[in-house]
């Protein structure tokens, strides 16, 4: 009984703090000064058509580096917690999994190539259209998941995933340092030539960085799925 009262008080207190802000804040009329500066400067300075990508990769690039680090820590944690030994599966034979239905197998055969190509398209064009590294990485992880579902006996190669993840992470920091040496600061995309706005090869090192992020996120999410499936040694 006491517990219910405390829970009710906690939720009521949070509501009292949150609802006036939500109901009375109103809708802003125009973006603030910083946002307007980003909107007008990003296409000229960096040649990126997608301003959100320019902010995520270069203006607030350090936050993205931190986020990639957090995702790496979570993946490492999941992989360390869910090894076969710790799950109690040990040396036991992996239990016989039922074979996938024919619809799933056929559809996967048709879709996996398209999904991987779609994911690569999304993160290559991150500076031109909505999208970018995280979305493309998730689509690639989904393609690998579909392959795992259609062939339950297969395992993802842990070595290749680890190699892709660590190499792209190191290359991401390497591109940032390239910006520090060749341009005006860490993760400055002007280290590579800017090109013409709207074309694929433009916006300096933004597409390169976002592609590396996409590969890293895709490898990490596939690693999480692999660990949860119970196949991680």
């Amino acid at each position: 009984m006491m517990r219910r009262v405390l829970v009710f008080l906690a939720v009521a207190g949070l509501a009292w703090a949150l609802l006036p802000l939500a109901l009375g804040a109103g809708v802003p009329e125009a973006p603030g000064a910083l946002a307007t500066a980003y909107l007008t400067d990003a296409p000229e300075d960096f040649g990126a058509a997608n301003v959100v990508t320019a902010i995520v990769v270069s203006y607030r690039g350090f936050d993205t580096l931190g986020e990639v680090a957090v995702l790496f820590a979570a993946t490492a944690g999941v992989g360390a917690l869910l090894t076969r030994k710790r799950l109690g599966l040990g040396d036991a034979e992996p239990e016989a999994k039922p074979a996938a239905t024919e619809i799933l197998v056929t559809a996967t055969g048709l879709l996996t190539g398209l999904l991987v190509m779609f994911g690569v398209y999304i993160f290559l064009h991150g500076h031109l259209t909505p999208g970018g590294g995280f979305q493309g990485g998730v689509v690639i992880a989904t393609a690998l998941l579909l392959g795992l579902l259609a062939r339950p006996e297969s395992k993802l190669s842990h070595g290749i995933l680890a190699a892709v993840e660590s190499l792209s992470g190191a290359a991401y920091v390497g591109m940032g340092l390239l910006g520090a040496f060749l341009a005006w600061g860490f993760l400055d995309p002007r280290a590579l030539p800017l090109g013409r706005i709207g074309s694929l090869v433009s916006a300096g090192s933004i597409p390169v960085i976002y592609s590396l992020i996409g590969l890293k996120v895709g490898a990490e999410l596939s690693g999480i799925l692999d660990a949860l499936k119970g196949d991680r040694e």
């Binding site: 939500a22 109901l23 809708v27 909107l39 944690g77 799950l87």
Partner: protein, 131 residues
């Protein structure tokens, strides 16, 4: 302040996000099942993302992406910027969504590990684990 003024000042995104946060917090506090706590945390995180993004919601404007119509004409930069929503909260929420997935995966792997070690699936049964 009249009712109509009050209704027109409500930010619909912030209102639905705030109520989702309250629903999620209640779920985390009131339900003992470990997996239900993880689901409620996920609902709460969606609400928080909605509340953050609501500060950048400007009526009548479109996505902050320069399409090919204005590509190459840098003189129209200020005019194009006047038709775009605020891009900074979008960048923040992008980060927050991915980190939400990482936190959920970690929560669930803790729950799986506790179950594999022989524990129950209700948080009540871990009463003697307090410091």
């Amino acid at each position: 302040m009249s009712i109509l003024e009050f209704v027109s000042r409500i930010n619909p995104v912030a209102a639905s996000g705030a109520v989702l946060v309250l629903v999620g917090v209640w779920g985390v506090l009131a339900r003992p099942n470990l997996f239900k706590i993880a689901i409620a945390t996920s609902v709460m995180e969606t609400g928080v993302n909605l509340v953050i993004l609501s500060t950048g919601y400007i009526r009548g404007r479109t996505a902050p992406i320069l399409d090919s119509a204005v590509a190459g004409t840098a003189t129209d930069a200020a005019g194009a910027a006047a038709r775009m929503t605020d891009p900074v909260p979008q960048a923040l929420v992008l980060t927050a969504i991915v980190i939400g997935l990482a936190v959920t995966a970690l929560q669930l792997s803790y729950a799986v590990r506790l179950r594999a070690a022989g524990g129950g699936s209700s948080i009540e049964s871990y009463g003697d684990e307090k410091w």
